[in-house]
Amino acid sequence: MAGKSGRTINATPENVWKKQIFSWEGILVIIFIAVIILCKILSPNYTFTNVLREMPKYLSEIFLLFPMAYILLLGEIDISVGSIVCLSATAGCLVSNAGVPFGGVVIVILLTGTICGAINGAILVKFPELPSMIVTLGTQIVFRGIAEIVLGSGGSVSLSNTDGFRMIAKKAGPFPYVFFLVIISAVIFTVISVKMKFGRSLYAIGSNRQTAFYSGIRVKKVIFTAYTVMGLFAGIAALFLTSALYGANTTTGKGFEMDAIAMAVFGGIATTGGKGRLVGGVISAFIIICLRIGLGQINMNSQLILVIIGILLICAVLLPNITGNMKLKKKAN
């Protein structure tokens, strides 16, 4: 990961503007603009209103990005989030159908998510030898499995009272409410990761867990908190996803974990931990969403869209590495 410069936390810039433009985030902004221009050329329906109208379903995935970025910064991973979304949405739909008012439904959804996240965190803290990928793989199967049991044969539940969910799916002008919530969350998460002690301990643990531990950071507490927050935001994602689906089924949220990880990685957050900035993740999330909407509008084969995202993902890391290598060689000569 040596090639991705400009992302160390304490680097002092010589030239602020140059640094900003040539940082990975700067490049992402340029790609973002390029994607929008490209989609605009390809599809005449790629209007501001249309893109914003199609966005809410994708936006619910961005909620997963923020805490996922934290977990990746720690050098960990969580592949159970899609299942947590599924279980929370299922719980929410069931209590809503049982006549609980919307406020209670929201609490149930968020609480279910938080508990699931806390379970992940607790196992990982209790058994630090276990790789997070395997633990969350196990809980991924379990959480979705519980939803399967609860939903029973039929595997699907529909909301009998959609009033509350219709309300949160509303818009202010062309902007859906969820858009503002995403922006607010992005700001909060970014500020925490840059300015707060918690954020700095994320980077410290991700860079070197031992050193972090001996320098007085409460590693277990930070890891537990990160996973619990992940669960909470999976709950929030479930809330808004339900408002777009009016129900839940056993495939709800399938594959969300990979989408969230891909967004973070494309944004320059290293899966090895300790490197990357949240801003990059947010910009790359919007790049992927806008690209998907644009390519969807020209009715491109959905599998080809995934191929393109795969290629972008690899190139995002590969190209800086290759050019970095060439530069090193030039220097050596």
Partner: protein
């Protein structure tokens, strides 16, 4: 610092190359047409000025299948395309990236943006498309479903490949016939939330309970193979081990029936199979005698499902029908159809009775679909 610039350029170039390469493929038939497609673009309040253009120009008809890469869906799409294009319309066929309702919602949203005139969808989940399809109907798009229905609130009508009761009856009679009227039998279904599967299984159970003729038959288990060969194989093997006296397995799913057929045939089991399957996938297993695991099975013509769905979409767009029960319309050379009340409270159009594939006709059909 140059390296970053280089990488940006290369990234952009690659994306551009990819897009231009894929843009012309056959999966993107409607990209140019959608430009002059007016009809209630998006939110009607913001774009009312475009409404006056709505009367002119060819209409655009969209079909959303359950998943990509499935020959059954492909045949439905083929029938749909053939009819619409013969009538001068533009066709958009969209396969969602995965067989989930989530993925279908994205596709529906995209089609609303493109301002298509009609959407017909084979739902991966009965209820989960409601929000998206209601939005489509609010935007003036005619929404119908085919193959696997959405709930009544999110469709105008449903092109049903065969009546649920008729399929249940046909499968039940097949189980009765093959088992000789008594003994244990089991069901290998697709996923637990597949709408049509569950409707057929329910219908079979009801028929079995309502008629004393079936009193000697015992349904021992309903297993879910999740429409993947591995799991379907495992559950079929488990059924044979758990119930050594099992006489018949009924698999009303194209993936499940092929996997079960292979297990039974390889083991030379005395247990026989029936259900709903694609002739091309099942040809190796259908036959008389002990060497074959499936004496006969049923299906409808998926091409005709697509064609019927196309005629329904056109009738809805032209205003010939509104989707209310009792209305009739002409489906080209397929004859005249009447919209009837469906069991779920909505309306449907029934294609016809399921078609039986047995050793006498399988060779002829296996090359067709």
């Amino acid at each position: 610092m140059k390296k970053k610039l280089v990488s940006v350029l290369m990234c952009a170039a690659m994306t551009a190359a990819l897009l231009s390469g894929c843009g012309g493929s056959k999966d993107t038939p409607a990209e140019s047409q959608s430009a002059n497609e007016p009809a209630a673009e998006t939110e009607t309040k913001t774009e009312t000025e475009s409404n006056e253009e709505a009367a002119s120009g060819g209409k655009t008809y969209a079909m959303i299948t359950k998943a990509a890469g499935n020959p059954y869906n492909e045949k439905e799409a083929e029938g749909f395309k053939e009819v619409i294009e013969a009538n001068g319309g533009t066709v958009i066929i969209q396969h969602p990236e995965a067989a989930t309702a989530d993925a279908q919602v994205s596709v529906i949203q995209s089609l609303i943006s493109q301002g298509v005139d009609s959407i017909c969808v084979a739902a991966n989940d009965t209820n989960a498309l409601q929000a998206a399809l209601e939005e489509a109907m609010d935007a003036g798009i005619k929404v119908s479903s085919f193959d696997s229905s959405t709930n009544p609130a999110s469709r105008m009508t449903f092109a049903n490949q065969a009546g649920t009761q008729e399929i249940g009856q046909a499968l039940m009679d097949a189980v009765y016939d093959i088992s000789g009227g008594s003994g244990q039998w089991a069901i290998v279904s697709a996923t637990s939330q597949a709408t049509n599967q569950n409707a057929w299984i329910e219908a079979m159970k009801e028929i079995m309970e309502s008629d004393s003729k079936y009193a000697e038959l015992e349904l021992v288990s309903v297993e879910y193979g999740d429409d993947v060969p591995e799991k379907s194989t495992t559950v079929t093997q488990a059924l044979l081990t758990n119930y050594p006296d099992l006489k018949v397995i009924c698999a009303p799913t194209t993936v499940g029936i092929a996997a079960a057929a292979k297990v039974l045939q390889d083991q030379g089991s005395s247990c026989k199979l029936t259900g709903l399957g694609l002739p091309s996938e099942m040809a190796a297993y259908i036959g008389d005698g002990d060497d074959f695991s499936c004496p006969y099975m049923f299906l409808w013509n998926p091409i005709d499902v697509g064609r019927l769905s196309a005629y329904i979409s056109m009738a809805l767009v032209n205003g010939d029908i509104t989707g209310a029960a009792g209305e009739t319309f002409t489906a080209g050379d397929m004859g005249s159809y009447t919209i009837v009340e469906a069991a779920d409270g909505g309306t449907e159009v029934i294609l016809g009775p399921p078609f039986k594939f047995d050793p006498s006709n399988i060779a002829e059909w296996k090359d067709i679909y």
